[in-house]
Symmetry: C2
Subunit: 378 residues, 2 copies
């Protein structure tokens, strides 16, 4: 664990600092839940209604995304609509995937594993284009921040200093151009790959499965009529426990920026990515139990939380996504730095950028440790 | 102010974060000082005895350092003794300087300003060699940390990964060699400059003044017989207040690593260096009032604190020195990065190193804000 993480967790403690991230709070906290008066009703319903109902809704959403994409794709004028449709597709695919995984024992497991794997493939293929675009955006923003002249102690801009020293901006500009070239190429390829995937027989086979799912979920008949509280809740608790255990098992990372020059500085990232995955799984499981969130379009769609735990998972999810994005941006800067025959100033700027993004990785870990577990559960 | 600094200062506060560093504690805290039973006796003494006594001791120390240097200099076998003698010289010069400045109204001001300026020059000339050596050491240590392979999540070393990817270490090794060349050259020049200074007429003139000071300090006769509590203490309080005000005036810095590519990222460093200077001045003033510290050789010599405030100043002094060292090391890495015709991998490693040292600058600021004001005075 880094000093930063320790400090964030027990800033005023003297000597008695915890040695690992604290355990997650229990899934359900007595009396503290504003949705407590709603949930029992839902959990008293038969498993079939709750689980199949949720899967039907998500499947319908996925099919709507697919139709919207078919209508918008292929024209520059409707690129924004196509991108939004892809977002909806990914959103539903991730939720169905997570639901199939968490509640696997209540479903036809063969079917569930097969469809889950295909949806994971689909969500990954569809995510790439957006990821490259966001990565480029993140790196150019960072370069801008790194190469903006500082205001002086009296607020005066340092423009004149920069003008005098002349060259510092050159490396940043060249590094930006190089990254733009490399990531735009990657993005274009990802776009084509996504279009190919959506036109493939493999995709049509998944779409057929989803069309069936929209009206009929292959539930295990023995559990289908039991109340959700006895079937869904224990499995949601299990997912939540796996999340808590993954948080506990987070490696005690090295100092910020250590190993940055070896290509091994991201060795501990995987543990954090796993935590991110499980935080999402837990959040989706809660959505099944507590009713789906508003599906308004846009990045704010996930914020309609009805319970504090769901809200906390949304919040730490942002930190964990920022962690993932920064780690991948650092890797992209590092890869660009290995481009043959670049100017030393370009390489220098990419080195600073790489370190800056690893610093962001640390900051995201710190932010996670500051917000998890939520204040009431410490 | 950076997020880190804010967080360190009010980690659990919600919304009500202070907007600037807190004020320094009062110089004397009622009842909290273990030396309180000693100090009044000393402060009841006449100004002459306390102030002149302190100056005599420091002047004697400086002359001993000078003799020790004369005996040890010029031979490789006694280089360690010569370095230790220079350390003693600098230590005494800094303290005499600070004392002359803080208690200027009680001294012959013309003499005090002249000798103070000459001692400042001497301390600066003598410090350079050590500073370049320490800077190289800091940068090579950082490069080592940055280029050491990370242990895996299971503790397994990443040596094999590095062996497979091959090249990451090359840039770090070349960067290290370049820095070693540049800073060793600077260090050698500083060594010659220090020897030249110690053989100069200018130095002999200061040495003569110090020889006189060792037996007789030019005190203002009107104050010389008054008790130290009425003359020295108010001036020490004034220095302490200037320190507190400088802490309050610390610029609210940009985010960590912002502006790193412009050569203007150190624009706010000067305010911190000023705080470091005033923390030292305050500490030296306390030493005059409370009796000198043990002068045992070595870097631990300053730790024989008799009061909590002195101990706190020693502690934050370390953070502020680390701040200064990291800022100058970052500048050295940046300067090395502008060496013409270096390989891109070397430039890349220097960029990472530069960012790493700016990260250290931020960490030192955070550490300062965590330890100042001392816990009892918050």
């Amino acid at each position: 664990m880094t000093d930063q993480r320790r400090a964030a967790r027990a800033p005023a403690a003297t000597g008695q600092r915890p040695t690992g991230p604290p355990a997650a709070p229990p899934l359900q906290r007595a009396g503290a839940d504003p949705a407590a008066d709603v949930r029992p009703t839902r959990e008293a319903q038969p498993t079939r209604e709750v689980l199949a109902g949720y899967l039907h809704e998500r499947a319908g959403e996925l099919l709507r995304g697919l139709r919207a994409h078919d209508e918008a794709a292929g024209s520059a004028e409707t690129a924004a609509e196509a991108a939004e449709a892809v977002r909806l597709l990914r959103r539903s695919a991730r939720r169905i995937c997570g639901t199939l995984q968490t509640f696997r024992p209540l479903l036809d497991t063969g079917w569930s594993d097969r469809v889950g794997a295909e949806l994971r493939w689909l969500a990954e293929v569809l995510a790439k284009e957006h990821e490259y675009a966001a990565r480029l955006d993140r790196l150019l923003t960072a370069l801008h921040r790194l190469s903006a002249p500082a205001a002086g102690p009296d607020g005066e801009s340092a423009g004149s200093v920069e003008a005098r020293t002349g060259r510092p901006g050159v490396g940043a500009a060249k590094a930006g151009a190089l990254l733009e070239r490399q990531l735009t190429l990657a993005r274009t390829r990802a776009h084509s790959a996504a279009l190919r995937a959506l036109g493939s027989g493999r995709f049509h086979a998944v779409a057929d499965e989803i069309a069936v799912l929209a009206s009929e979920a292959p539930l295990d008949e023995q559990s289908a009529d039991r109340p959700a509280a006895l079937t869904l809740r224990p499995l949601a608790e299990l997912t939540h426990r796996r999340f808590a255990e993954a948080v506990d098992a987070l490696p005690h990372g090295p100092e910020a920026l250590a190993h940055t020059l070896t290509g091994t500085e991201g060795r501990h990232d995987a543990g954090w990515h796993h935590v991110r995955h499980l935080a999402r799984q837990t959040r989706y499981a809660l959505e099944v139990l507590e009713g789906p969130r508003p599906t308004a379009p846009g990045p704010g769609a996930d914020t309609g939380s009805t319970t504090p735990l769901h809200a906390a998972l949304v919040l730490v999810g942002r930190h964990l996504t920022r962690h993932r994005d920064a780690a991948e941006a650092a890797a992209a800067a590092s890869a660009a730095g290995r481009t043959p025959r670049i100017a030393p100033a370009t390489a220098y700027a990419l080195g600073v950028l790489h370190a800056d993004q690893r610093h962001e990785v640390e900051a995201a870990r710190l932010a996670f440790c500051r917000t998890w577990p939520p204040a009431g559960d410490r």
